[in-house]
Symmetry: C2
Subunit: 325 residues, 2 copies
């Protein structure tokens, strides 16, 4: 199980490796939203997303002789880069299964970190069976993207930093909007906030049409998305909430929020102009919810976790051209 | 005079107002440069550039009754926004004289911070005379962009942070590359490093053709640029080194470096892809020098100060399209 003790232990192991990211704000964004908005800039994290946290927690927790045989992961990109980085830093080999339609910038980034990348066709091949086949032969340990106690604990270190950042910024209570795929980041942060800052509550943010977490939180049971593709928010298109993350969130988070792809692009453009950070669409949905779903939020302060920045230059150029700030 | 005591006092007054910016790095940039490169991300500073530091130092140092009458500054944009922000935060009025060809994003940013913006024609009007005329009538205090002891001390707080960041990152010695216009940031950092980390040395970075500081450091006397315009690095096109900043740098910095506009754009693109930060051309020349002037640098670690991120979206889109990482 993930809990605050595991999160604190993950934070201790991460020191000097995982980056302490800043909490940013801008008067222009506050004026636009009609409330104070802070942005936890995980796009500035090592490997360009929060995924480095969970990967470091999981890889660093392995027994040395197990770790030395290597790790394996499947991911459309950000978890891939996180695991590749954490493995390389520990001197362990990494095999990453990536869908062949993953953004080129993420495939290249994963290879540049020294991982062996195996591409598969997500319509015709079963990635889990592939992973077992490749990993079993070589004795590799699977690092799952979210349903894993150490991964959740590692993502939860973001929550510990938010608590400290908020205290320094004089934020007494806030809704904490978290970009949500499988729910690893949201559940880790929810556990950290429950223990250290119970006046702060997690609200998940997802792409419209892929709001399985919001609908699951509303119904009390895990439900699936009707489609697997169809949003530019590639980083957070998971079929349904995680078996391990959902029970954590059901007790501690919600209601969930959803934004359109256009709103995610507009949030990217506003973050470019006013915060000078680079967000990918899936990393911008929480900020988009803070800016464009104010009527669904409680009155008061909002902290949006900007979870990643690994975006193709053409898409980023389109976002800042189409949505002038 | 600016000295380390004034810098430390400025840092104490800035606490809770000026942002502590992160020192970023990327394995991909290190591989490209063949050395370790760190980037001090002042584009993430309040108002999008380091200028907030000097402005805060100068405005906060004024006697309350003087400050209440207001301040005036002339600037193509970043100093304008810094002074507007610092004045507003102190409840003081601000008048900013800006050239009418300044980037629209900077003019709008200055107005959004509550300042009264007066546009002038830089070919036909004398901005200093204008400033005296407007400021004298109203009892406004001029906040110069660099030749001012408190402004230099405020910019020098960047140096204090670099010293602390470097210790934490295990950097024992480095060349610190600093984007240079009038020399306020470079001279402030040079004073801080001399006092607290003498193994670190400032190297100024300028646009080719506007390398008045490099030529002045080489000759030992202040020399001017042949032209006033002709580079996209609008933030750092000053006619000659400052009277107050140059003597500081002559004793402590150099040799100066210069990069082309194309190299500045390429550095912007690499910072986009690998650090997920937004740089303006004038804020990217130090990183460009780190990446493309390695043969002019000492062997070993480099810290590049990325001084600002206030860039028009069209120019940024052009940079990331033309120079794929």
């Amino acid at each position: 199980m993930s809990d605050i003790y595991r999160i604190r232990a993950a934070a201790a192991r991460a020191r000097g490796h995982v980056r302490r990211t800043p909490l940013l704000s801008s008067a222009a964004l506050d004026a636009r939203a009609g409330r104070r908005i802070w942005v936890k800039a995980e796009c500035l994290q090592v490997t360009g997303s929060f995924k480095a946290r969970g990967a470091w927690a999981a890889v660093s927790a392995l027994a040395p002789e197990v770790r030395a045989r290597g790790v394996i992961a499947f991911s459309s990109g950000n978890h891939a880069q996180g695991v590749a980085w954490a493995a390389a830093a520990h001197g362990a080999p990494a095999v990453i299964l990536m869908p062949q339609d993953a953004p080129a910038v993420k495939i290249e980034g994963t290879r540049a970190l020294g991982a062996e990348v195996v591409l598969y066709d997500r319509l015709t091949q079963d990635r889990a069976a592939l992973a077992v086949g490749i990993g079993g032969d070589r004795g590799l340990t699977l690092i799952p993207p979210y349903d894993h106690p150490e991964v959740i604990a590692g993502q939860g270190t973001t929550g510990l930093e938010i608590v400290a950042d908020a205290a320094e910024a004089g934020i007494a209570a806030a809704e904490v909007l978290v970009c949500c795929g499988g729910g690893g980041l949201a559940s880790g942060i929810a556990l950290a906030l429950e223990a250290e800052a119970p006046a702060f509550r997690v609200r998940t943010a997802e792409p419209a049409g892929f709001d399985d977490m919001a609908r699951s939180l509303a119904s009390g049971d895990r439900v699936s998305n009707p489609a697997a593709t169809g949003s530019i928010c590639d980083a957070i298109l998971t079929p349904r909430p995680g078996a391990m993350t959902f029970p954590i969130l059901r007790e501690r988070a919600g209601p969930g929020l959803a934004v359109s792809d256009d709103e995610a692009l507009a949030a990217m453009s506003l973050a470019f102009s006013h915060l000078h950070i680079v967000l990918e669409p899936g990393g911008a949905v929480a900020l988009a919810a803070a800016l464009f779903r104010g009527d669904e939020l409680a009155t008061g302060d909002v902290i949006a976790v900007a979870s990643g920045g690994n975006v193709e230059s053409a898409l980023f150029a389109e976002a800042i051209a189409r949505y002038p700030a």
